[in-house]
Structures are given as structure tokens and as C-alpha cells.
């Protein structure tokens, strides 16, 4: 499993094709704006977003499990075989 982080919506749009179905997606900083598109959560991938970044930008998500803490961020990094940062 690869952990892909995206720090802006454009980064996700441009690099979506490099994400495999079993990979995990983590949205950070302005990347959390991607969740304004509700269809994103219909994708097969596990998708997370930093809760502090969601709150700062006034973005609400219907599924509370999507919003994670810095602690869970660290866990995801530790669990992943590779980490790919897209920006």
C-alpha cells in the first residue's frame, strides 16, 4: 500500500492516475478542498483528510472517519510501504 498525500486540489486532479485502487489517499492543507466534490468519497480508495485543515477551511464531511488527527497521520505513514507526496 502506498500513502499518497495531496496538498492542493490541482495536485490530486493532475496525479490521480498514479493512485492504485489499494492505495490510501491523505488530503492535507488546501488539498482538503477536494472533498467539496462529494463524489470523491465514492472512490474505492481509503481517503482521509487532516481534521485541523478541514476545520481551518470550513469544510464539513459527512463521514466523520475521514477526518483524522496528526497522530493518525503518523500511523498511516508507519503502515504504508511507500509514501508519495504530490504537490
Amino acid at each position: 500500500m502506498i500513502l499518497h498525500t495531496f496538498n492542493k486540489p490541482e495536485a490530486l486532479l493532475k496525479n490521480w492516475q498514479f493512485v492504485l485502487p489499494q492505495d490510501t489517499i491523505l488530503l492535507i492543507e488546501d488539498g482538503v478542498y477536494s472533498l467539496l466534490d462529494e463524489n470523491l468519497l465514492k472512490e474505492k480508495n481509503d481517503i482521509f483528510a487532516l481534521g485541523i485543515d478541514l476545520a481551518a477551511r470550513g469544510i464539513k464531511v459527512a463521514q466523520p472517519e475521514v477526518s483524522i488527527t496528526y497522530g493518525k497521520f503518523v500511523s498511516l505513514c508507519a503502515e504504508a510501504e511507500q509514501i508519495s507526496n504530490w504537490f
Partner: protein
């Protein structure tokens, strides 16, 4: 205003708007990522950043009542007019062209 919240650009443009309002009639147009500034319920304080977006609701006290945003770009960002912190008038691309023509000075941030 065309930049995301919490960029220097967005804060400076807000300050420029308040300063300008002391001298004459000002309008403000939000386009591109600048529309993100208008999302309600922003709480950036845990990141150590001041929430200047709260000031938008005070714009009417500064006689800034002409607040516009791009209709097409609002849709592009998957946002709805009801999510905005202040009521903004949605303009088509043609209406934005006309708006710019009508103004004596245009400052872009």
C-alpha cells in the same frame, strides 16, 4: 480576490478593501481559489493563524455592499451559494467583464 485563504495576498487584499472603502465606493469580486475565502465556519486558530474571514461580515459597516463572485467558478469548485459566509451576487463571465469596465480602478490580488 483570486487567492486561497491564509495567503498573504488574501489578507492584504482584505486590508486594501477596508482602506479603500474609507475613500470611496468599493466593490469586491471573488474569482478562482479566492472563492474559498468565503466558505463559512472557518476555524484556522489551531494552526496559529488569525481568522480574518470573520471580518467579511463587517464589510457592510464599511459601506462595502457590492460583493460579487463568479458563478461558473463557484460551480467549478463544487461550492454552493448557501455555504458562503456573506451573501455574494453570482455573476456570469460576461457580467464580470461589464463589472470591470464600469469601475475606474481595478486592484487584483
Amino acid at each position: 480576490m483570486s487567492k486561497s485563504p491564509r495567503t498573504i495576498n488574501s489578507q492584504e487584499s482584505f486590508d486594501a478593501l477596508l482602506a479603500g472603502s474609507a475613500f470611496g465606493q468599493c466593490s469586491v469580486l471573488f474569482i478562482g481559489n479566492g472563492i474559498y475565502q468565503l466558505l463559512g465556519g472557518q476555524r484556522p486558530e489551531p494552526l496559529g493563524v488569525k481568522n480574518y474571514a470573520l471580518g467579511f461580515s463587517a464589510l457592510s459597516d464599511y459601506d462595502v455592499n457590492l460583493i460579487y463572485c463568479s458563478k461558473s467558478q463557484l460551480q467549478l469548485l463544487n461550492m454552493h451559494i448557501s455555504e458562503l459566509i456573506i451573501p455574494a451576487t453570482q455573476l456570469t463571465d460576461y457580467e464580470i467583464n461589464q463589472l470591470i469596465v464600469q469601475h475606474d480602478k481595478v486592484l487584483s490580488f
